[in-house]
Amino acid sequence: MAKKTPLLEVKDLHVKVEGKNILRGIDLTVKAGEVHAVMGPNGSGKSTLAHVLAGREGYEVTKGGVRFAGSDLLAMAPEERAREGLFLAFQYPVEIPGVSGMNFLKSALNEMRKHRRLPELDAMDFLTLAREKMRLLEIDEKLIQRAVNVGFSGGEKKRNEVFQMAMLEPRLAVLDETDSGLDIDALKIVANGVNSMRSPDRAIILITHYQRLLDYVVPDKVHVLAHGRIAKSGGRKLALELEKKGYGAFGQSAASVAA
């Protein structure tokens, strides 16, 4: 059955950055309809994993592989992965001066639609759709009319990432610390946005440091990434445990990588 094919299958993934081993054998399987939380100390390799999945340059895969909906993900160009439905909400969204958010997102969405053999949206249809999603995420239209991320506050950048995700409707969304830097109201709004994206044919990976987010977006699975490996996997309760005990048990605390 097609349903049994996992959406994402990471097998024994080893990755080097600048000659340094960062990921040392990641195994992770995510099925459509699931929400996974990935936690772990600073520098443990969470963003690295996200970037490798999205196809960023500068990462050397030395062993293992990744399948996305049955295809070899690592063989695809970054834009192909995006068009195939892999979305990354960046931990540090990039500013693009001179390019309005509307224009940017319209081009992006139409690339995806072209890929899916859907007709491109014209300006009016796009705007209608964008307004609907803006309402959901309580985003001011003015923000989207400005140049992408330029001069946005930290929280605005994160919210803009979720807005883009809602617009692009990916099959797999990886949210890298999208909850960091959000005030409590914004956190709820973002969580609502993420929850509204939950669907039987979509999977979400939440990279987070705070179990607080998981109060709102309840994950099916929680993983602890330490030293470049998934050190432990469990259910919702694992996050609560970590909150209490820290990462000491995994031999890597935030302090130990601070140097």
Binding site: A54, I96, E111
Partner: protein, 484 residues
């Protein structure tokens, strides 16, 4: 061929038959012979049946040119130009034209196609035989009659010499003197053709006037001469587009453009320059050494230059404004792109003479590949220019790490009431930006195109609509292959 005998006759009649042109009988008449001397200058003048004063002006220029040396202060490098190796007059001979588009370099056609240039136009640009396409001869002058009803004169420069001798004589060389600089002086001696525009008092020109210049013949220098006169209270928007086929050897293009705006008159002059830039390794391409200058002679007059410079191997060009009339306004909006081995040294000069004169300079330099891009601009406020104001903003965008962007402003303020502001930024399209865009499904090239268009928006907005679209496509094409 008819052309040959016509030319022979022309020369005979122009010279009364007693002038000795050794070459008249033994060369193919499509070209003046290679090289430059007084006989060539006379030949060109005779070909065009010019009055004596103009021949004298050409000769005076030629003699001055002999005493001048090429400017070397620009931040561009190129091998010495052999001025005796070029042809200074060329009318195409039919055998040189290609019979069909099949014979044209497909790479070139691909470019035209992307630009959305219609097939007939493609043929013209590619040097396929189409009626009335001549190097050095005339310009397309559509809607001439409609314009004539308004008293507007829009014709080729050669025609104006015949039909508007007083206007030509009064204004030719009045903004760019024959002795101005090496290339302008060379142009004054050998200029081939160009456009002439006169807008009468109080007339607002009802349409954009536009010209396509072309270089088709090999080894042909192109020296066009354009003169635009806006009489009191008039308005005109003039567009100039340039495209040239690919040739392996460098070709010299040394044009002169003079603009004159009288009281309350406005001239908007837009250029989209896409001369052949040379290949990826820097072989071939146009040397675009051009002198463009406008005189805001009347009170409240305004001259606005907008240029999109994507082509040419080397661009050396400083469209300028002499703000003589009180309250006159000069503007310069520029996008210059250098990719592969292209070099550009371009900018403007704003000379404030009258009271309360204002100038604005907005430039966007984009460098990719091994391109070198220099903004060089002068703002000069003379003692009488009370209350003069200038605002300059120069932005450079780098794509990759083998290119260069440079800003060289010269500011001279000799009036304490003047206000001069200069801002400059340099930015780079970062890998982070590209990755961010690609993660949203855009290809690297589309991402660059989007970022570049955003970067240039301020200038593109100044272009007339149809031109803005073409300019955007050109930006994309000229930056193709700038990411590896």
């Amino acid at each position: 061929m008819a052309v040959a005998s016509d030319t022979a006759k022309t020369i005979e009649s122009a010279t009364g038959g007693d002038y000795k042109y050794g070459f008249v009988t033994d060369i193919d008449m499509d070209f003046a012979p290679r090289g430059l001397n007084e006989d060539i200058v006379r030949f060109i003048s005779a070909k065009k049946n010019e009055p004596d004063w103009l021949l004298e002006w050409r000769l005076k220029s030629y003699r001055r040119w002999l005493t001048m040396t090429e400017p070397r202060w620009a931040r561009v490098r190129y091998a010495a130009i052999d001025y005796q190796a070029a042809y200074y007059y060329a009318a195409p001979k039919s055998t040189e034209l290609l019979d069909s588009l099949d014979e044209v370099d497909p790479e070139l056609l691909r470019t035209y196609e992307k630009l959305g240039i219609p097939l007939e136009e493609q043929k013209m640009l590619a040097g396929v035989a189409v009626d009335a396409v001549f190097d050095s001869v005339s310009v397309a002058t559509t809607y001439k009659e409609k314009l004539a009803e308004e008293g507007i004169i829009f014709c080729s420069f050669s025609e104006a010499v015949q039909t508007q001798p007083e206007l030509v004589r009064k204004y030719l060389g009045s903004v760019v003197p024959y002795s101005d600089n090496f290339y302008a002086t060379l142009n004054s001696a050998v200029f081939s053709d160009g456009s002439f525009v006169y807008i009468p008092r109080g007339v607002r020109c009802p349409m954009e006037l536009s010209t396509y210049f072309r270089i088709n013949a090999e080894n042909t220098g192109q020296f066009e001469r354009t003169l635009v006169i806006a009489d009191a209270g008039s308005y005109v928007s003039y567009l100039e587009g340039c495209t040239a086929p690919m040739r392996d050897e460098n070709q010299l293009h040394a044009a002169v453009v003079e603009l004159v705006a009288l009281d309350d008159a406005q001239i908007k002059y837009s250029t989209v320059q896409n001369w052949y830039p040379g290949d990826k390794d820097g072989k071939g391409g146009i040397f675009n050494f051009v002198t463009k200058r406008g005189a805001c002679r009347g009170v409240n007059s305004k001259i606005s230059w907008t240029q999109i410079e994507t082509g040419s191997a080397i661009t050396w060009k400083y469209p300028s404004c002499i703000l003589q009339g009180d309250n006159s306004v000069g503007e310069f909006y520029s996008v210059a792109v250098t990719n592969n081995h292209q070099q550009a040294d371009t900018g403007t000069k704003m000379i404030h003479i009258g009271k309360n004169t204002r100038s604005t300079i907005i430039t966007k330099g984009i460098s990719a590949g091994k391109g070198q891009n220099t903004y060089r601009g002068q703002v000069k406020i003379l003692p009488g220019a009370d209350g003069a104001r200038n605002y300059t903003q120069c932005d450079a965008l780098l794509i990759g790490d083998q290119c260069g962007g440079h800003t060289i402003p010269y500011i001279e303020v000799r009036n304490p009431t003047a206000h001069v502001e200069h801002e400059a930024t340099t930015s780079k399209i970062s890998d982070d930006q590209l990755f961010y865009c690609m993660q949203r499904g855009l290809s690297a090239e589309d991402a660059i195109s989007m970022i570049v268009n955003g970067f240039c928006k301020q200038v593109l907005m100044e272009l007339p609509m149809e031109f803005a679209v073409e300019a955007q496509k050109l930006l994309d094409i000229s930056l193709e292959g700038s990411v590896g």
